[in-house]
Structure formats: structure tokens, C-alpha cells
């Protein structure tokens, strides 16, 4: 019996390596523009910081640079939340930009699954 337990223990340790000993603290809000790319599914919340209150645009473009959607909003100071719906968006990698007029403030990539 002791031997069987030893086998299982060795298997467990060998395959799972040391992740089981790591304690990873998950952030409660992932700031989308601080990530290089974020995987997105229908209904996900996207978070980002805004430092100045003014008209802003969220622009999603495809790989060719063609704008697919461009939505204007007036933010409040601090962390913003946007619920993204993906039904009309093409699958794959898209560019997400936060713009002020025609100036780019922040940009990142989103992966629509």
C-alpha cells in the first residue's frame, strides 16, 4: 500500500511540477490596455483608466487597419468599464484603440474567440 502511494506521489510531483506550490494572486480587474493581447468573449467586461474627462472614442479595427466600429463616450475619471459584445465582430485578432479626437491615447489587441 505504501508503495502504491509512493508511485502516485511521484507521478503527481513529476507531472505537475511546482505550480501546485505557487500561490498566484489574480487581479480582480485586468486593465485591457496594459495587456499586449486579451482574449475576449461575448459579454466580457473590459477595464481601462481615464485620466481626463473629455470625449473619447473606442475604435476596433481589423488586421488591415479598416475600422469596424468606433463608439464615442464621455468618461468619468478613473477606471472605466465597457461590456463588449462580439456577435457582429469578426473572429480573430483585432486592434482596440482609445482615441481622443484623432489622437491615439492607448492601443492593444483583442482576440475574438
Amino acid at each position: 500500500m505504501k508503495n502504491i502511494l509512493l508511485v502516485f506521489l511521484l507521478l503527481f510531483i513529476s507531472c505537475e511540477k511546482d505550480e501546485i506550490f505557487e500561490i498566484v494572486e489574480e487581479p480582480t480587474q485586468i486593465m485591457v490596455f496594459e495587456e499586449e493581447i486579451t482574449s475576449v468573449k461575448d459579454g466580457d467586461d473590459l477595464f481601462f483608466d481615464v485620466l481626463v474627462v473629455e470625449d473619447l472614442w473606442l475604435v476596433i479595427s481589423n488586421k488591415d487597419g479598416s475600422v469596424i466600429t468606433k463608439e464615442v463616450f464621455i468618461p468619468t475619471l478613473g477606471v472605466q468599464s465597457k461590456k463588449i459584445f462580439t456577435k457582429t465582430l469578426p473572429k480573430g485578432e483585432l486592434s482596440l484603440e482609445l482615441r481622443n479626437g484623432t489622437s491615439l491615447i492607448k492601443g492593444t489587441l483583442i482576440q475574438i474567440n
Binding site: 508503495n3 509512493l6 508511485v7 511521484l10 507521478l11 513529476s14 507531472c15 473590459l46 473606442l58 476596433i60 479598416s66 475600422v67 469596424i68 466600429t69 468606433k70 463608439e71 464615442v72 463616450f73 472605466q80 468599464s81 465597457k82 461590456k83 463588449i84 459584445f85 462580439t86 456577435k87 457582429t88 465582430l89 469578426p90 484623432t102
Partner: protein, 767 residues
């Protein structure tokens, strides 16, 4: 300790990463005899990184004499050293990315011979590309070419320390002429050390590595002295000669194809080759990261029918499938009966093998005559009658004696390789005094007597040809008329398809074509014959302003170009021979109907068919989604040349929330581009939004069609003096059903099109 080792091994086994790459192969099948260019089907290699370079080996193992294959798509792939052709070959190794090799593999075409029953074992092997590593499809071994100049002892030692894909390496052993040829032809070095030595006993040459280690192949020096029967020897003239104590062997001596003996130590050869693999059966390969598959095709004297449906690249063929039917009625009153009921998908292959779906032929109560060469002239063929396009044929009536066959009940005749097809009895010509039962062969093509394989049995009598022949009688078999009928697709897919096919650029092209001669006055001449057929959307046999009116109605969401939106009302499938003959003057006469059925004529006298069809679409005036008749069409060539980047126009898009509504605004600024048409497709999330209304402001006719998941809208010029030079504004209002704040992605622009007066597409940039 024992337990610990077991645990350790078990752990290793469990944790070894799995080899997740796969290859999907075509189904083994029978192939017709004596046919070149036979598609074998679709291969799909999956699981590799898309940018990774892969090595592929295609081969026919033990090919029946004369059987070869071609690889017809070779974009992005490179043949290995020593392989010099893509056509009429029995093996080829090449490299490329996963995507490119999939295209190449699926383009394999087999060339069969006349040998009935011969089996063709087509092998495909895929692995990651390693420089200087070569695959031998005959034995399934890999060979690594090492260019280091070392002596024999060192080469043997280094080779034995090498592994490849989990297989132990060894200095190359050459045990067959095929392997010798492979080393000679597929490696670029000369004077290559091989695992063969007589160190233990002078003149006794033994294999010194690999699966055949210690095998004695020769018992005396000299080219042929002591060569052991059944063992492979390939010495150069006068070798081995042990000149100065030479106990090891090289191949490709001096660049040739034979062996020489050289000193085993202190003498550097021209490099060496490491061999990997133990079994000589490629299908028993143990290489960890190699995909290995073999498909067996059998040559047979069979009916073989492969349809080729040519869709434009801008149409997704994956939408389409169909079934094969037989007409149990007649042409005026057809009764379509599905044959096997197998639904055959067009997919990306486009070629549909329908051989197994053809209903077998049935007896029709008449007889067929077949012939072989004989010693008596029992048959005569008189000269061609060009006024009736026919031949008069006589068969001696004594050939019918005691056969129980009524000469008038003959409907089909095979005369050597001269004619195989229907005949009509000539009444009143079977006089017993002349002994001839006579028939008429109707054919537009004259028989080529001079190039017949049966020349020794044919005599040219001046006004007739006499045939030394024997005749046989059998029941005549006929195929019912066969047709491939496409399945219709669901209405929402038809909607999207037709919205993709018929856009504002088609309408601009139609108006432009009619501007040549005024109202119903004539054409400008920019459209090909097929495009003119596509333009006749109301099907009255003319292309005129009634058709452009229908097209406008279609853009504007009216009754549309067809009463009922279905695939069968817009799809046009034209046999290639007819398609190629349609031009701007005969298109009305050669009218081709829209519909889902194509007829495939099968007769018992022919075995192999490659019917080819071109797919065009009603309303596709600029051929953007149809097979183009390139040389005649101005619009198709311009549209497809993708002149998208210059000139361009920057437009404005804004999506803004107004209370519970969402307002979408698209603005085309004032410009000097003489735009004659604009079209946008605005997709919306219909689970969360309701479309309310739209407004359009321009100097042209504005159109608008509401579909369940998108709005199609834009403007088109119906008169020469209108354009979008002053700009245009389009607005759409949507009701937010869920009253959600802070949303993103509920609306997107999925298609845009701007077209100028010359039919050029203008690049549409949104800022």
C-alpha cells in the same frame, strides 16, 4: 531501488509530450485504367506551427510498370536535392509550410496504365525539416549527411552516438542497389564512408554497423572475387585492392557510383552519412515525429466520373453540396429519382468524384454488337456522307446466323477503335442476295481510319473500307439520364450570398453598359457574353432598363430580382464548352437558365468522364463572384485587379448612444472622385438591438435593405449627371433592448464599397 526505477520510468512515460500532428488522407478507391491526371483526393496535415518548414515525401512503393504521379500545385514548396521533376515521377521529396504542402499533396494526380488489377501504394511521409537530413521512401530510413572530413573509425564512432527522432544512428550501410542509388543521387558529397570493413580478416568484408552488422558480403579482394550471392556488392573496377593496407570502404568514389577500399584510420574521407531506421518496411517506421501513411488504389476497367465545379474564389464553396439523380421519365416529363442519396460536398476540392453514385446501366431490350480482328472481311464502311453527317455500314448477314438476333434490333455497335456508339438499322437494305445487314452511324466527326491500332485488319477499298472482323452480340445497356442537383441552402445564407454577389458596383456597371445607346438603344460594350446573361435579371431574353430597375429594387429591399429568394433562382451552372462559346452576340441564343441541376451524359461506350462546369450568378454583372470571361469583360478585370488603394477617400463613422437609442452616422465628405455608387453593410447584434429607421442624404438614388442581422444601404447614380461629389450622410437608429450602458461592439461595419464612373473600386477609409 527497483521500485524507484519503475516509478521513475512510469513517470517519464506518462509525462512524454504527445505527438499531436495528424494527416487525413483520401479514401482508397478504384481508379480507371490508362488515364492520366487522376485526382486522388484531399490530404490534410494538421497540428504543425504554420510558419514551420516541413519535409514531405511522396512515393509509390513497388509501382506497377509505367504508373507515375504528378504534383500540379507547387507554390511555396522546394524539391530536395536530387529530385528534378514534379511530373511523371514515382517519388519526390520536398519542403514547405503546412499550408503549402497541403495544397501540393491535394494536387497529386496519378497516371495509370492499362494493367487491370494493379495496385498502387501511394505513401506520404511528413516530418519537420532538418537541414542535411534526407528520407528514403523505399526503406523508410532517414540519412543525415555530415560534411566533416574524418577517418573511418571516427565516422563510425560519431555516427553511433547520434540519434534522430528516437532512433539510434549508425554509419550508413548500403544493402541494395536502390539504397546505393539513393546515396548517390540524393547526397551531394563524394567519397562517403560506409559501414563496411575487413579489419578482422583481410578480404573478408563485413557490414560493421546497423541492423545487418557482421553480415559477410565478400570473401576476397577484387571487384567480383568472393562476392557472396544474395549480398549487395558494388565495387569499382579493380577494387578492393588493399593498396597500402586498406580496411574500410567508401562509396561515390571519385564522384562515381561505386565503392573503393581506403585506410580505416588516419585517412580522411569526403564526409560520412548517418543512417537511422531498422525495419526496411516504411510502414513500420518508429520515428517519433514522423507522420507516415499509405493509401492503396487499384487500377480497374471501371466507369470513372469526376465533376469539376468552378466557383469564383470570392464564393465559399463550402456552402454547396448535391446529390446525383436519374431521370426515370423523359426530357419533357422528367421524374427525378435520387441514386444513392449520398450528399456530396463541393468543399474546397471542387472536384466531385461521383463514380459510385451513378446508377448502373439497364437493358433496353436491344442488342449491341462488338468486334475483334478476324481473318474474313465481314464488314464494310462506305465513305462519309457529309450531307447527312453519317456513314453507311454493312455487316455480312451470315454473322447473324444461328445467333437468335434480329438484325433490326441492333442499337449499338463497336467497330475496333473506329466507332463505339449508337447505330440505326437501314431498312430495306438487308437483301439476302448481297448478304449485308446495313446500319447508319451518325457522327459530326469523321472516323480516322489511318491512325487505328487495328490497321492490319482494315483495307482501304477507295470508296469504302473493308474490315476483317468477328462479331459478337450482347444485350445493350443504357444509363438513364444522370443529373447532379445541388441542394438548396437556408434562406438566411442565400440572403447573405446574394447581398455579397449583387452590390452597387453591379448596378453601376449595368447603367454604364446601357448608357451606350440610350434607353434600350444598345450596349456600351464593356460586358462579356456571360455578364450580359447575368444582367438579364428578369429573364426575358433582353438586357434593358427593366433589368436595371429590378436591380435598383433589389438594392432597395423591394421585390428583388427573383420572386422567391432561393439558391436555385440565382445560381447558374454552365458546361465549360457552352460557357466558352457564349459571346456578346450569341448570348441570347445560348441562354443558360438559372437552376441547381446539371446534366451529365453517361453512355456505355465511354468509361472516363471529366465534366467541367462554370458557376455564375444572376445579377453578378461585374463578375465579382462568377467565373470571369476575362478577355471580353472590362468590369470583371477592373474589379478583380483590386485597385483598392489609389485613389481612396476618408469617411467618418460615429456610433453614439442617445438616451436608449444608438445612432450610427456615416459621412462621405465632398470630393472630386465622381463616385457613382456607395454601399455599406452595418451589422447589429439583434439579440440586444432593434433596428428603428435610417435616413440618407445624397444627390443620388438612396437605397436601403433591412436583413435580420444587418442593414445594407447606400446610393447609386441612375443618371449620368449625378454623383457623390457633394458628399453624402447616412444615419441609422437602433433601439437598445436591454438598456445597457457602457457597451462596445453591438454595431460594426462589415462591408463597404465605393465605385466611380469607370467602374473602379475606391478604397474606403474610416477615421
Amino acid at each position: 531501488m527497483k521500485l524507484f526505477i519503475i516509478n521513475f520510468i512510469t513517470t517519464l512515460l506518462v509525462c512524454i509530450p504527445t505527438f499531436s500532428q495528424t494527416i487525413t488522407t483520401p479514401t482508397p478507391s478504384e481508379l480507371p485504367i490508362g488515364v492520366s491526371g487522376l485526382s486522388v483526393g484531399t490530404f490534410l496535415v494538421e497540428g504543425y506551427n504554420s510558419t514551420e518548414t516541413l519535409k514531405v515525401s511522396i512515393s509509390i512503393s513497388n509501382p506497377p510498370p509505367g504508373v507515375t504521379f504528378d504534383v500540379t500545385s507547387t507554390n511555396g514548396v522546394t524539391r530536395d536535392y536530387g529530385y528534378n521533376s514534379w511530373t511523371n515521377i514515382t517519388s519526390v521529396n520536398f519542403t514547405g509550410t503546412q499550408s503549402n504542402i497541403n495544397t501540393s499533396l491535394s494536387s497529386i494526380k496519378l497516371n495509370t496504365t492499362l494493367e487491370v488489377g494493379a495496385q498502387i501504394n501511394l505513401s506520404v511521409v511528413v516530418s519537420k525539416q532538418d537541414n542535411n537530413v534526407y528520407y528514403n521512401p523505399t526503406n523508410g530510413h532517414y540519412y543525415r549527411s555530415v560534411t566533416s572530413y574524418v577517418d573511418y573509425i571516427t565516422a563510425k564512432s560519431l555516427a553511433s552516438q547520434s540519434t534522430y527522432q528516437g532512433e539510434q544512428g549508425y554509419l550508413v550501410t548500403i544493402t541494395s542497389q536502390d539504397e546505393q542509388n539513393f546515396i548517390v543521387e540524393k547526397t551531394s558529397q563524394n567519397n562517403i564512408w560506409i559501414a563496411l570493413e575487413d579489419i578482422a580478416q583481410e578480404g573478408y568484408w563485413r557490414v560493421s554497423a546497423g541492423p545487418e552488422i557482421n553480415t559477410l558480403i565478400k570473401t576476397s579482394n577484387g571487384q567480383f572475387n568472393g562476392n557472396i550471392s544474395g549480398q549487395y556488392n558494388n565495387w569499382c573496377g579493380g577494387e578492393p585492392n588493399n593498396a597500402g593496407n586498406e580496411d574500410a570502404a567508401v562509396t561515390k568514389w571519385g564522384g562515381g557510383g561505386c565503392w573503393n577500399d581506403l585506410p580505416s584510420s588516419g585517412y580522411r574521407g569526403g564526409g560520412y552519412v548517418i543512417e537511422y531506421g531498422t525495419s526496411n518496411d516504411p510502414t513500420q517506421s518508429n520515428f517519433q515525429f514522423t507522420l507516415n501513411t499509405q493509401i492503396t488504389f487499384t487500377q480497374n476497367d471501371i466507369l470513372y466520373v469526376v465533376c469539376d465545379f468552378n466557383f469564383s474564389d470570392s464564393v465559399d464553396e463550402g456552402l454547396f453540396s448535391g446529390k446525383l439523380y436519374s431521370n426515370l421519365g423523359d426530357s419533357s416529363n422528367p421524374i427525378w429519382n435520387v441514386n444513392t442519396g449520398t450528399e456530396i460536398a463541393v468543399g474546397n476540392g471542387r472536384s466531385l468524384n461521383i463514380t459510385n453514385d451513378i446508377s448502373p446501366p439497364t437493358e433496353d431490350g436491344t442488342k449491341r454488337i462488338t468486334s475483334t480482328g478476324g481473318s474474313v472481311e465481314w464488314c464494310v464502311i462506305y465513305g462519309y456522307n457529309s450531307s447527312t453527317n453519317s456513314y453507311r455500314v454493312g455487316i455480312d448477314s451470315r454473322e447473324f446466323d444461328n445467333k437468335g438476333v434480329d438484325w433490326e434490333n441492333i442499337s449499338n455497335l463497336q467497330l475496333f477503335d473506329l466507332w463505339d456508339g449508337p447505330v440505326t438499322p437501314r431498312s430495306g437494305n438487308n437483301s439476302t442476295s448481297v448478304h449485308w445487314n446495313e446500319y447508319t452511324i451518325y457522327t459530326d466527326t469523321q472516323i480516322d481510319f489511318n491512325n487505328s491500332d487495328y490497321g492490319q485488319y482494315i483495307r482501304n477499298g477507295g470508296s469504302y473500307y473493308a474490315l476483317k472482323s468477328n462479331f459478337f452480340f450482347e444485350d445493350n445497356l443504357n444509363f438513364k439520364p444522370q443529373s447532379f442537383i445541388f441542394e438548396d441552402i437556408e434562406v438566411s445564407s442565400v440572403e447573405t450570398l446574394i447581398d455579397d454577389i449583387i452590390t452597387v458596383s453591379d448596378v453601376v456597371a449595368a447603367f454604364n453598359e446601357l448608357s451606350g445607346g440610350g434607353l434600350n438603344g444598345g450596349y456600351k460594350g464593356d460586358l462579356s457574353g456571360v455578364e450580359l446573361q447575368n444582367s438579364d435579371v428578369n429573364g426575358d431574353g433582353n438586357f434593358d432598363f427593366q433589368d436595371t430597375q429590378k436591380l435598383l429594387q433589389f438594392l432597395n429591399g423591394g421585390s428583388g430580382i427573383v420572386e422567391t429568394l432561393s439558391l436555385g433562382n440565382i445560381m447558374r451552372i454552365i458546361p465549360i464548352e457552352k460557357y466558352n462559346s457564349i459571346n456578346v452576340t450569341n448570348w441570347k441564343v445560348l441562354n443558360t437558365d438559372v437552376g441547381l441541376r446539371v446534366d451529365i451524359d453517361i453512355t456505355t461506350s465511354q468509361k472516363v468522364y471529366y465534366p467541367k462546369f462554370m458557376v455564375t450568378w444572376l445579377g453578378d454583372i461585374n463578375s465579382s463572384h462568377s467565373i470571369t470571361q476575362g478577355t471580353e469583360s472590362k468590369y470583371s478585370s477592373m474589379y478583380k485587379s483590386k485597385i483598392y488603394n489609389e485613389p481612396s477617400i476618408t469617411c467618418e463613422l460615429n456610433i453614439v448612444k442617445v438616451n436608449d437609442d444608438i445612432l450610427v452616422t456615416i459621412i462621405i465628405p465632398p470630393n472630386n472622385l465622381n463616385l457613382k455608387g456607395s454601399e455599406f453593410r452595418v451589422a447589429f447584434d439583434n439579440d440586444r438591438l432593434d433596428f428603428k429607421e435610417s435616413t440618407q442624404e445624397s444627390d443620388m438614388f438612396n437605397f436601403n435593405t433591412v436583413r435580420s442581422t444587418y442593414i445594407k444601404m447606400g446610393s447609386v447614380s441612375t443618371q449620368d449627371n449625378t454623383s457623390l461629389n457633394t458628399g453624402a450622410t447616412y444615419k441609422l437608429f437602433f433601439k437598445n433592448k436591454l438598456k445597457l450602458d457602457n457597451t462596445l461592439g453591438l454595431i460594426s461595419i462589415i462591408k463597404t464599397e465605393l465605385i466611380d464612373s469607370n467602374g473602379n473600386k475606391i478604397n474606403f477609409i474610416i477615421e
